[in-house]
Assembly symmetry: C2
Homo-oligomer: 638 residues x 2
């Protein structure tokens, strides 16, 4: 049967299951990437597995998010990650090199491989013809240990490209058109696969910009064929040996099909505050722009920056407009300088920043109150810029530069003939640090804010635990594990961050749970809704919470509970919720056996009464619970 | 009588007094500069004067300090300053252009003129042969209004330079040698004046680096002659018309004389944590370096950056060393790119940042815990880097690059022949915004955190005020007006920041003072010691405090009290301190007349008793007090 590109890669990497959309499968992971914001915890988790070396083809630790260094913590994190990389055989990319996805595409991505990254824009490297997916830090730590990645087998959404982009229309307009058509939910459960005669008209950076923002469609991944342009790109990077062709078989069937005639696209803009609020740039001429930023993992390569530089040549920014340039990589910056693009940028009045994520993750570049900001970023969720009530518009570099010159959102086709971007100069200022041949003697350097990952023990057969807290319906992960400037910097320090569990609801919770341990928490409906943060499962577990009982659980929080060995039990009888109080003691007999047996119910004794509690979990989930969490499970399986 | 350079400039600018060291003089100010950290309050103060335009030859508002923009406040400040500049006839330098002192030297400084800047490194432009001095924001606002600058007439410290610097020895080594000899107090009360046959061997950037760090000697200013090199520099900048020669008359006498044979200097380093803890770099070979930064107003011009770039050519940084490059100006960055220095920097692994102050004022680039940081900055006070217990070493670009290559502090002479820095490419990517011809219609743009400067009324003849708080000895300005991340961002919002006055000692103070207004505060010995912050006088005044009574006052705080119209009265009789309590009512009859009369004592009635209080103030101080502060005084004199 003819296969899609996605199926070919999945088939070649199946560790468990078969290619059947919706079924659970496990995939062998060839490459991993982490960035510093999620990477420190992933590093601690990997370290806790006790391996001497990563077990992937290549794993890279990038520093690109937390570059501000307003106190010791960022620099300590960078140093810690550098030492972890040397110790365990990862490549390390120090701060200033650029953005993980841009660098990975240039230096490591290869067609046909799988890549798992602890960053939602990991699908960027799908432009290279690889299956590149974002995941939580724990999943990436597991993949670094050679453990397969479990996911629901995706459907495949085919996008047939024909024609060729008109002058001043770019890759960003392709993905904005996809978002306009399908919305930010349109890719859920799919890998988006591009094919057709239009593909060969797109360069690798363009393809990657499109797959990058597949994340905004909610897709599991996005993928382009690997063809002669892919080979040429790899050759230019000195990596032609990494080339392998990839394309769908003729007649391959898609679960959903879109067709895009590239020649009919026009310059598009996503309005505040969703990437799918897309309209033609020409319709927004009345929108004054105060700030324009070219950068982010989606649009910060040589071609992006040179397009801007050439359009600015001999011109000046509109009065009052701030144009920031965030290079995506050291290489792109050096190439632009070699091609004399930097002079045009500086002479026009642009503000040149260090290579990195910067404003795209709200680390600097916040716009002024009530101002309009136009950015070549992938996201414009409300407040993400760092300014409440912000008004952030998204576009490609072409619309960005036209608008910076006009002072309002502008269709770049008004700029006249499209300047020809010269071929990228052969400049490759590598500053990637390879791992030493032997790392076992490398000392891992921790600062005072980096604590080893805690030991989590296996589930006992007999468990007697005390309810440390009873909460209402709709408790969010923000209630459980607050964010904010006081708490976030402690993300690499589980003992310290655990002091803040439930702090707003009950400042004594941490002390009480630790005194009672093992402890339980009782919740109402939709327990654990909101942000996917893993600490909301891990930190209570560290304090001694082994069981959570609730009328219902939010999906992601429940998965996180299982990953950290906290048993999520459903209170089907509302009367049981009423019966349980802070201080109630639950006694489970033969708990571990019951969980491993596959039983959908477990029983707890509370005083002289028995509660019947529902456990909804796959066989793999049950193994994780019995082991005391995913890390213990992997450790045992190694 | 033969005159020094300093005396010539002072004589030509005397508005009051005569050149006699120690006497109060008033100088006409030709040019002013402000930066954003101090400039927003200065702008509010200037605005409060009600003028339609600045009354200087040139005033420039630079944005270089607060570039992080982690929320709306920085960007609001930038926009506010831009609108103020257009409204009142200032030049504006937007963020990304670079550091005020570097830019001012390139674009505005001229020999023989006076420059007052709200930044302590304003003496940088002394390298151009001008009298350039740092001052508080209120003084600069007054100068912008054409009001003269009052100061104690300085003594002149002559430094005779002979010989020529050896290869790999730079301007920084000259000023570090001065600091080694004289200490951070050595320049107090002096203008430091360089002369002699060694002067012509130093370029303008070198001279400015030396005068810049005269601030670290505690000097009022530092000054170089204006000679043919000065003319050549101005010509290259398209400003030859600004040239005027300046030199001391033969036989001019100095209050103190130093002699430096440049050819005998060697590469020097200031050790943690004072700029005068100076030793030869060669003695510190055992000090491992983790971070090296080239930048700051002192060392970030074309020659500085190119020296580093050429030394790095074809080499790689030592493993684990982070080398950051902070360009001082858009021009320097563009020149380095045009001279192909950027490629060397990037290929060696350096991290290129936006032009600005950055780590030098602790806004980013904080080093890791327990690490050593080597910086070409002017200051290394403890914790200024953003990391507590930091270990910051200071040096010139030559030692910096040698150390970044070696991995430890290194004498750069080990690098072999000094590469010849090519003449600066004729690149001038101006991005300075001139004021419009007519600004009266320009709207001043405030964000929610920028409040107009409060109206402060004149001192009444009869004053009855209630003691709102009584405090002990040694109260600091930190007690009166705390700093910290919650308070500092409110510096452009006097009503908001006033809520924090005495907050740590008495959270009800602000409410009580406002309810009682006019109010008084009673203090012990050394009241108002510590930081010079103006808000410690202004914010209580805003709340209604008109009189402060203390056993003794710290000098700078007392001057600030007078500037904002708060009467500082000394309690010579300790029994009076004991008698006064919170709630005591002081009645002053004929207060204003008494103050203006020059009387050294004023009398207050407290219940049925009379207190005799001492007022130590010059005739000008008394006029300020009567007017209700300097701004009112200037307003009345305009």
């Amino acid at each position: 049967m003819p296969r899609t590109q996605a199926q070919k890669i999945i088939d070649a990497h199946l560790a468990e299951g078969v290619f059947q959309p919706g079924a659970e499968i496990a995939l062998k992971i060839d490459q991993t990437l982490t960035q510093d914001a999620t990477g420190t915890l992933a590093a601690l988790e990997f370290e806790a597995l006790g391996l001497s070396k990563t077990r992937t083809e290549v794993s890279v630790s990038y520093v690109d998010h937390n570059l501000l260094q307003t106190d010791f913590k960022n620099a300590d994190d960078h140093r810690f990650l550098r030492s972890i990389a040397a110790r365990y055989g990862l490549w390390f990319s120090p701060p200033g090199n650029g953005i993980c996805h841009q660098l990975h595409l240039l230096n490591f991505a290869r067609p046909g491989a799988t890549l798992l990254g602890s960053d939602s824009h990991t699908p960027h490297c799908g432009g290279m013809g690889m299956l590149a997916m974002g995941a939580g830090g724990l999943d990436v730590a597991a993949a670094m240990a050679g453990y397969p990645f479990y996911l629901s087998c995706p459907k495949v959404l085919g996008v047939r490209l024909s024609g060729e982009l008109s002058p001043w229309v770019g890759a960003k307009d392709v993905i904005l058109e996809m978002l306009r058509r399908l919305s930010v939910k349109g890719g859920l459960g799919f890998v988006v696969e591009y094919f057709g005669p239009g593909v060969e008209k797109l360069g690798l950076a363009q393809r990657a910009a499109i797959t990058n923002m597949g994340a905004e469609l909610g897709a599991t991944g996005s993928i382009f064929p690997a063809d002669e342009r892919t080979r040429a790109f790899l050759k230019q990077q000195g990596r032609e040996r990494d080339y392998a062709p990839l394309s769908a078989d003729p007649g391959a069937a898609y679960d959903h099909l879109e067709e895009i005639d590239l020649s009919r696209l026009e310059p598009l803009v996503a309005q505040p505050s969703s990437p799918d609020a897309v309209v033609p740039a020409a319709q927004l001429g009345g929108v004054k722009v105060d700030q324009v930023i070219v950068g982010s993992c989606a649009s910060s390569g040589y071609e992006d920056l040179m397009t801007v530089a050439l359009a600015l040549q001999g011109k000046k920014l509109a009065p009052g407009v701030s144009l920031s340039i965030n290079p995506g990589s050291r290489q792109a910056l050096a190439q632009v300088a070699a091609a004399e693009g930097l002079a045009s940028l500086l002479e026009a009045g642009a503000r040149l920043h260090q290579a990195g994520c910067l404003g795209c993750i709200g680390m600097s570049q916040a716009p002024a109150t009530g101002s309009n900001s136009l950015r070549t970023f992938p996201r414009n969720f409300p407040g993400r810029s760092g300014t409440k009530d912000d008004k952030v518009y998204l576009c490609g570099p072409e619309v960005a530069v036209a608008s910076a010159l006009a002072g309002h959102i502008a269709d770049p086709r008004r700029l006249g003939p499209l300047p020809q971007v010269p071929p990228a100069p052969p400049v490759r200022p590598e500053a990637l640090v390879p791992p030493p041949a032997e790392g076992s003697a490398v000392e891992v350097l921790r600062g005072p804010n980096i604590a080893p990952f805690p030991q989590l023990d296996a589930l006992p057969e007999e468990l007697s635990c005390t309810v440390a807290l009873k909460v209402e319906d709709n408790i969010t992960t923000d209630h459980i594990m607050p964010a904010g400037s006081q708490v976030l910097p402690l993300r690499s320090n589980v003992p310290a961050i655990s002091r803040f569990v439930f702090a707003a609801l009950d400042p004594q919770f941490a002390d009480r749970a630790q005194a009672l341990a093992p402890a339980a928490v009782v919740g109402g409906e939709n327990y654990g809704q909101g942000s996917s943060r893993e600490h909301a499962a891990l930190a209570p577990r560290y304090l001694g919470v082994r069981v959570k009982l609730a009328k219902s659980f939010a999906r992601i929080h429940k998965a996180n509970l299982i990953n950290f060995g906290v048993v999520p039990l459903v209170l089907d009888d509302p009367a049981d919720y009423d019966r349980l109080q802070q201080g109630s003691v639950l006694v489970f007999h033969g708990l571990k056996s019951a969980i491993l047996s596959g039983a959908s119910q477990v029983t707890a004794q509370v005083e002289d009464r028995y509660l019947v509690l529902r456990l909804e979990a796959s066989q793999r989930d049950r193994q994780l619970l019995a082991a005391g969490g995913l890390l213990n499970h992997i450790k045992a399986s190694l």
